[in-house]
């Protein structure tokens, strides 16, 4: 359906910036090299044939020890979903980042909406977004330590801000 988007991408970026691309379950996706992240996004937004002007979603996947995954794949994938209101087609972009240098360039200057989504991804996964205007935690409180949606964060590890004196329940 949106094969045109991938074709445009592959036609524009011939220097190996597009690591992979394909269609699974009817979704077009492309894996972008980290240094071309902004360029690819801007191109998709501005190119008349793709015109991905609507920012749908940005999140992150932690592939720590995922069964069936490639051993050398990066641990984190920043995943962006884009939509073109005029052409009514979508695309999903991946950008890998490894644990030791978990950062990706920010998309805030391409789509204003990316701001909070990137804050969330940073909050829950600890992936930094270079150039983000105000990279604070958004869902968790500032005192929270760690990044809870990482696979190695225990589900029930609470970090209370306040507790009542034990035993004072009637």
């Amino acid at each position: 359906m949106a094969q045109i988007v991938l074709d445009q991408l592959n036609a524009k970026f011939t220097g190996g910036e597009i690591l992979e691309s394909g269609t699974t379950h009817g979704d077009e996706w492309a894996r972008i090299r980290r240094d071309a992240w902004i360029a690819a996004a801007t191109f998709l937004r501005d190119d008349p044939a793709t015109k991905m002007e609507m920012f749908i979603d940005l999140t992150c996947v932690d592939r720590l020890g995922i069964r069936g995954g490639k051993p050398d794949a990066p641990r984190f994938d920043v995943v962006v979903h884009l939509y073109s209101v005029s052409h009514k087609h979508r695309v999903r972009l991946y950008c890998g980042a490894n644990e030791d240098d978990a950062w990706v360039d920010t998309l805030c200057n391409v789509w204003a909406g990316a701001n909070w989504y990137e804050r969330e991804a940073y909050d829950l996964y600890g992936v930094r977004f270079k150039g983000h205007p105000d990279l604070r935690r958004i869902l968790m409180y500032p005192e929270f330590v760690g990044h809870p949606l990482r696979k190695d964060y225990p589900k029930e590890k609470r970090q209370p801000l306040v507790r009542r004196q034990a035993g004072s329940r009637e």
Partner: protein
């Protein structure tokens, strides 16, 4: 002095009777249960029939804190502050399982029951509880009030304990929403 006892007990009964039918509630509405709370306030299950129709959105004017919905760790200090701002005598109702025990949210962010932070008089289970259940819980509370029970007695005891030097939960509340260290 029997006579005096008689007078005082009757006096307490009278005040309690007055209190239980003029509960000024502070609905601390956070989540799904709020929808059912609306239904309770709405015409069909008219909570006004029990003298608790008047929500006061200022803790200073309320004497019944209804905790409606999930309390997260981030919400905790705010809830505790609201509770501390209410004047004695005060009562607390946990509306729904999330406020009672955390419900099926057992994870890093949700608090396993609002009673981790404030003492609770009546727990209303259900996810969310049906309005009938809520009214039932309210009646339970009214009976407690008539019997002169309720955690406000406990709160006084806790204050006494605190005066004895047991550490004060309030003191452990940090200012909410400080700026995070930007990376």
């Amino acid at each position: 002095m029997g006579a005096l006892d008689w007078v005082t007990t009757k006096l307490t009964d009278a005040t309690n009777w007055a209190r239980k039918f003029s509960l000024f509630q502070y609905p601390f509405v956070t989540a799904c249960c709020g929808m059912e709370f609306m239904s309770v306030a709405a015409p069909k299950y008219d909570i006004a029939r029990f003298g608790a129709e008047f929500p006061r959105f200022s803790p200073r004017q309320a004497d019944l804190l209804i905790i409606v919905g999930t309390i997260t760790e981030r919400q905790g200090p705010a809830l505790r502050r609201i509770y501390d701002q209410m004047c004695e005598p005060k009562w607390v109702v946990a509306f729904g399982v999330c406020a009672s025990t955390g419900g099926f949210y057992q994870n890093y962010s949700t608090m396993p029951g609002a009673d981790q932070v404030v003492p609770v008089d009546v727990y209303i289970p259900g996810c969310p509880p049906r309005p009938e259940q809520v009214l039932d819980g309210l009646i339970l509370l009214q009976e407690r009030i008539q019997r002169n029970e309720g955690h406000n007695q406990v709160a006084i005891a806790v204050e006494a304990a605190e005066r004895k030097g047991i550490d004060v939960p309030l003191a452990r509340i940090r200012a909410i929403g400080q700026k995070a260290e930007t990376p």
